[in-house]
């Protein structure tokens, strides 16, 4: 019983615009919150409490010169930010944000695309998103960008593995790769953060690395690489990388909420608000981290990924499988 095409198109449009708006205000909220952390007001000139700041930023970026360095590979340089944004936006489509509703006899699932292997697809998409960063840095023809993209590649490999392993525990518990079913499974038992505290912790750490944020913001480490992979990007192309980064932030925090914190499930409010609340808490954590922590060094990051996170994630998975196996045998 799949939905009619027009429903899917309407859903896609609504989700896209909501996400873009949320992204724009997420940037503003982050800047304001950072300002509070740092004893300064943050952007507050454009409109009340800086309300029009995102609009002003976009207008400024649109009117910037569309610049391509002489040494750049023009085609890849142009397409790279598109890859990054496309992967990020597609990722958000897989996140369920409520129970199905019925309008005029048509049952509408509150998720962009309800796919059986949604979780796997999300990981695949985040891998593709990294291609945007790597190719963008590579094609810029600048040494800082090249170093940035090399770091991105290394970081991707180190943290995707740990992240993937930390999620397998949830899959084992819920017996499903479908995100809606994972939420339903948590509704029947409890939030998986209680079963998988270690997995949750690993996922949290890995997701910070996944979205290149402090203290794992090495691909764009300002102190060393000027701006890393997007050093040579300006105007709208830069804005697209920025968009991809923040939408990725939304995707991973939504994923963390879905996998470990019960997703959209919750009493009194509708699912969207529960999901938004859980995401907001996680994102506030992200901002807090950024305000507090210095940046790790490249080799320390790798060491941490391979020598600390990966063994713990493996161990966690083994224990989970054994416990679940024993429990199933008894039942």
């Amino acid at each position: 019983m799949s939905e009619p095409v027009w429903v899917q198109i309407v859903k896609a449009i609504i989700i896209f615009f909501v996400v873009i708006t949320v992204f724009a205000y997420l940037v503003l909220i982050e800047r304001r919150t950072l300002g509070r952390f740092q004893a300064r007001p943050g952007p507050n000139r454009a409109g009340p409490a800086g309300f029009w700041q995102p609009l002003a930023d976009v207008i400024k970026l649109i009117f910037k010169e569309d610049f391509v360095p002489k040494t750049a590979d023009r085609f890849i340089y142009t397409i790279a930010p598109v890859i990054a944004v496309a992967a990020a936006v597609t990722g958000i489509a897989l996140i369920p944000f409520g129970d199905p509703i019925t309008i005029g006899g048509t049952e509408i699932k509150l998720v962009g695309a309800d796919i059986g292997v949604g979780l796997l697809l999300l990981f695949a998409l985040s891998g593709i998103g990294f291609y945007g960063l790597i190719l963008g840095g590579w094609a810029s023809g600048s040494k800082y960008s090249t170093l940035g993209s090399a770091r991105t590649a290394a970081q991707l490999v180190s943290y995707e593995v740990a992240m993937g392993l930390s999620v397998v525990g949830v899959i084992v518990l819920s017996q499903s790769l479908n995100l809606t079913e994972i939420v339903d499974a948590q509704r029947e038992t409890v939030w998986y953060v209680l079963f998988q505290p270690v997995g949750f912790l690993i996922f949290l750490i890995a997701m910070v690395a996944e979205v290149n944020r402090a203290p794992f913001d090495l691909p764009e480490a300002e102190g060393e690489l000027v701006a890393g992979y997007h050093t040579e990007y300006g105007g709208l192309k830069f804005a697209m990388f920025q968009t991809a980064e923040y939408i990725n932030l939304l995707v991973v925090s939504a994923l963390a909420a879905t996998l470990f914190l019960g997703g959209f499930a919750g009493p009194w409010m509708s699912g969207v608000w529960w999901l938004a609340l859980k995401m907001a808490v996680l994102i506030f954590g992200f901002i807090w981290l950024r305000a507090t922590m210095p940046r790790l060094r490249y080799d320390q990051l790798m060491k941490f990924g391979w020598k600390v996170l990966l063994p713990i994630a493996t161990l966690n998975l083994l224990v989970t499988i054994i416990v679940v196996g024993v429990a199933f045998q008894n039942s």
């Binding site: 950072l34 952390f37 740092q38 004893a39 300064r40 040494k143 800082y144 090249t146 170093l147 402090a214 203290p215 913001d217 480490a221 300002e222 102190g223 060393e224 000027v226 950024r290 305000a291 507090t292 922590m293 210095p294 940046r295 790790l296 060094r297 490249y298 080799d299 320390q300």
Partner: protein
Amino acid sequence: MATVPGSPDQAATIAEEARTASEAATREQRELTPTERAIAGVEASTPKEALTRTLAAEASAQGPGERGPMVINLGPQHPSTHGVLRLITELDGEVVRDVHPVIGYLHTGIEKQCENKTYWQAVTCVTRCDYLAPFFNIHAYNLAVEKLLGLEVPPRAEYIRVMMCELNRISSHLVWLGTSGLELGAMSVFFYAYREREQVLDLFEMVAGDRMNTRYFWPGGCAEDLPPEFERELRRLLDVLPSRIDEYEGLLSANPIWLERTKGVGVLPPDELINLGVTGPSLRAAGVDLDRRKLAPYSGYEHFDFQIPVGANGDSYDRYLMRIREMRESARILGQAIDGLPEGRHIADDRKVVLPPREELATSMEALIHHFKLVTEGFTVPEGEAYCAVESPRGELGCYVVSDGSPKPMRVHVRDPSFVNLQAVRPLTVGTYLADLIVTVGMLDPVMGGVDR
């Protein structure tokens, strides 16, 4: 160090040094020290030749599949090179194989300009050398001029100078803390440090009318007496400062990432640091108790009770810790100075050197003549030369003044610690990671205004 950089003489010297160093190392069957490695690594060439070699190495490996070094230009415009320092860096992956610092982007000819100014006009020039420590520049210069003149500075002026210098030490260290924190990604510390620096700069403005490049110290004392509200505002600052420093330390001192980034990074043994001429917190972090304020007290520093923080490991973390502790000691000195501020004049009473008080001009013909002579022609300084050094936030800041008996100095030379400390960048960073290079340069805290002058 006696030879001219880039001359054949120096090339021969370096070649000789490299040979002796590697011979000594083979004989003693030990590892080369970082300095020796840095010298031997460039095949005993002049800096220019070493740079040529670096660039050639990159150009030679351009074929597919060939593995050559990558040369990147850190600076002169880069977020973390403290102004306009340019580091031509030879990278193998993320490992620094060689560094060639290039300076001169902020050269403004300050020393030369001083030769065309009268002694008391030159104060305005020297203050702009190390622009984060203006009071130290003028202090060193004034001490040298006063030494040539044989001029006694009244005790109140000494106390005011000490207070200004210690306030300046705090503000300079705050800028260092903020910027090097930012380079390591700890962005909040930057804003906290600048918040307190603002308070210090407000004090400067209150006293001298100018927030940064003041010319508040004159030969003979200080331009004006302290304003009456100064004491209250200073005490307000001293009340909050210790808790604010605790705040920075709370964010950084025990932060595991900060520790991992700075511990064991940029280490040289103390004797090598001394050979390179490094002074200030960078040297004291390595355990050498060298501070002009204790070693050769000037301006009455012997009257104050304070400690010279000394480190043990000489790594970037110790350099960080030294400066944090120095801020606390400076606050202590400030407290003692404001408590014991003697009464009296703020400037010497020698009418041949010091401008007469404004109110005398209306009544005293003699004062008017002195004023006219001083402003138009300046005062003459007996023939001779003098070198006076102070302990600036970055190390020994000395001023060498040569007089030919005219009202204008024949030569003014500033021994700026940033310039000398910069020599240590190469031995400190060759063989480390790119990220460590940023940390090391940040913790050496060079100020390019002082380097290029």
